[in-house]
Subunit: 388 residues, 2 copies
């Protein structure tokens, strides 16, 4: 119980401005060719402690306005964590396809949760013909035990035989529009669909808070599905709204090709035609090129890869000199990756806490506290603090 | 009880596509000078019957996804009408300032009501220093008896001493953004504030479904309040999203100057600098001009006036040959005004049901049924059908 009391003391801090702070990156223009292997930043002395342990492959974390947290467990459970401890699984969630990389994935709280109690989540869904990434919404009951009026908001097409590369994250822009990231299900034939505008493999999808198509989506009235925002992505498990209110995504690339992007509407991010790195069997990717006219360069790429989970910009509070820095969870080698931006370029990179394991999601609270979701059968939430 | 059973049989019809149908008016460009006194249309034989009687100055009507209706009564009550009859007033509404033209005004159901149960309404609010138009939101309890988690979304500034010219309507665009119309509180000094971008008198206001400022609002980052969409309006009691997904408003003008507008972002609709007609004391309005560079012309104006309430486009169903026509409630002389559009111009006008009294709001159901809200101390809802 002591541990849970500590959690509450932590979460009772102000959560305003929780999402984004930092210097302007509005005019950030990816370099050509893209940046990689930025200089090492001055190391930050930090320590990480368990806040909650015993969660089963936790995947996504979201903070409610009252400071409590929702955490998804990939096998299909969603739990509420607050002063009363860790709840039993919330009832009313849909069945999830929890094979391989599938299951219950991200969880997000709608910005107007205090009025609407709307929670969104992504999950692997079994459908006729295979498995897909889906996003659903529900209303958390007043007592926090049930999800009510659950409906799918988005269902990826077409069904895949492969329970792999589902993505996915959900983030809400300042205009209330939701971005949902997907994957391309990995197989050599399916990955081609990341370039196919009649499917939602390897896409950023954008919908209104009602789940409808925003009239200003780039393919409305054009060839291509109305819900698509950007395409040519591989497997995006991280997304965040940046200091300027714009979308950033991060994706699992091939060997030597994990990518940080700032997806713009209607743009093609190249997979599987161009990429940095090579396939994991050492064959070259697509055209064998990393740059091509009409396809976008990433903001940054990693070689060797970091296997990125979720990410969040830091607000410089809590004793961290990290204002505007991007914190990225790494699954392999594990730990935390920090990027600093200066004048629209990546100025440096730091690797922290490599020994804590697979970080599937990162949350930055209003007071600067950093929470890491450790994806393991006996996983949980770790809190990062400045050391000493 | 027989009457209420009849209501239910009516409302159980499909409500899809309830809002808008009709020919494209996308490229509608107001004429210069504006159109008025369009040719009379071929008369439609219609009959109107009471569906619900005994409502006290009903002001706004909104249809829920299940076919039930919410109706506001200006003294401050909101009622649910369904197969079980007319409900007792819904609990939890805020206190309203029900003097003169004030009180509980419009009611609107958010497009995602089936998941969120979110209802929005406008009302006259008593604040320090006077009275203002406000918009609030609440969650209708599952049993329909209470409004929960009520919060103001918008509060007009500055407070006025005059309980007059409050507007107001709420409509949701296809991107989920909400437009809220206001008034300018009528007095000679206050009406000037319709031109003042630091107040929300005589403005169309636009907010996200969360009640936040949409980043693409025209005055974000400019001089002027971030919530303003358009300005220079008088007293807008009608608003609707048209067949092309764009906002239309209608406003009470001076004598001979009621205006139908299609407000574009950041544009100035002229009040009280330019206007058709004259003040009700027969003095000229503002500059005495009806057109001026840098100020917009209305789509259409009325001389003599119709004192417009709410409005809605018809879908051509239910035996009416009215596809794409705009139906406008008239308070004085009363009844219904129909406008037909052809090739981006107002092609004709019809006056119907002049003897039924003050029509404060119009609702068109999915099956083409037209409902009129009769604003009287012993008012109610009338249903319009083709005669014979």
């Amino acid at each position: 119980m002591r541990r849970l009391v500590m959690i509450w003391a932590l979460l009772a801090t102000p959560l305003a401005a929780q999402v984004e702070q930092g210097p302007p990156n509005a005019e950030f223009e990816p370099a050509f060719p893209a940046q990689t292997r930025a200089p090492a930043l001055k190391e930050t002395a930090v320590q990480a402690d368990w806040l909650v342990r015993g969660l089963s492959n936790p995947w996504g974390i979201a903070v409610l306005p009252d400071g409590r947290m929702l955490v998804s467990e990939r096998p299909g459970r969603l739990r509420l964590i607050g002063p009363e401890g860790v709840s039993e699984p919330i009832n009313g969630l849909p069945e999830v396809d929890a094979r391989r990389q599938g299951g219950l994935l991200d969880v997000a709280v709608r910005p107007d949760f205090d009025r609407t109690r709307q929670v969104w989540w992504t999950y692997a869904k079994r459908v006729d013909g295979g498995t897909v990434t889906a996003a659903a919404t529900g209303r958390l009951s007043e007592d926090g035990t049930r999800m009510q009026d659950v409906q799918d908001i988005f269902v990826q097409e077409p069904p895949s035989p492969n329970p792999m590369h589902y993505g996915s994250r959900i983030v809400f822009g300042p205009d209330g529009m939701a971005f949902i990231t997907t994957g391309e299900h990995f197989s050599r034939s399916e990955r081609q669909l990341a370039q196919d505008l009649d499917t939602t493999y390897g896409k950023v999808v954008r919908v209104t808070p009602m789940g409808d198509v925003p009239p200003d989506n780039p393919f409305v009235g054009e060839d291509g599905l109305d819900t698509i925002w950007s395409y040519g992505h591989r497997n995006m498990q991280g997304a965040v709204i940046g200091p300027q209110g714009r979308l950033w995504t991060i994706e699992h690339g091939p060997a030597g090709g994990d990518e940080l992007n700032r997806p713009l509407p209607g743009r093609n991010y190249g997979w599987p035609v161009i990429s940095y790195g090579v396939n994991y069997n050492r064959s070259s990717v697509g055209s064998g090129e990393a740059v091509r006219e009409g396809m976008e360069q990433p903001v940054y790429y990693w070689d060797p890869v970091i296997a990125p989970g979720g990410m969040m910009f830091h607000n410089g509070r809590g004793g961290f000199d990290w204002n505007g820095d991007l914190l990225i969870g790494s699954l392999n080698p594990g730990g935390l990756v920090r990027l600093r931006f200066t004048e629209g370029r990546v100025a440096g990179e730091e690797r922290l806490l490599r020994d804590i394991g697979r970080v599937r999601d990162v949350e930055v609270l209003g007071d600067g506290t950093v929470l890491l979701l450790i994806d393991a059968p006996d996983g949980g939430i770790m809190r990062v603090r400045p050391a000493g």
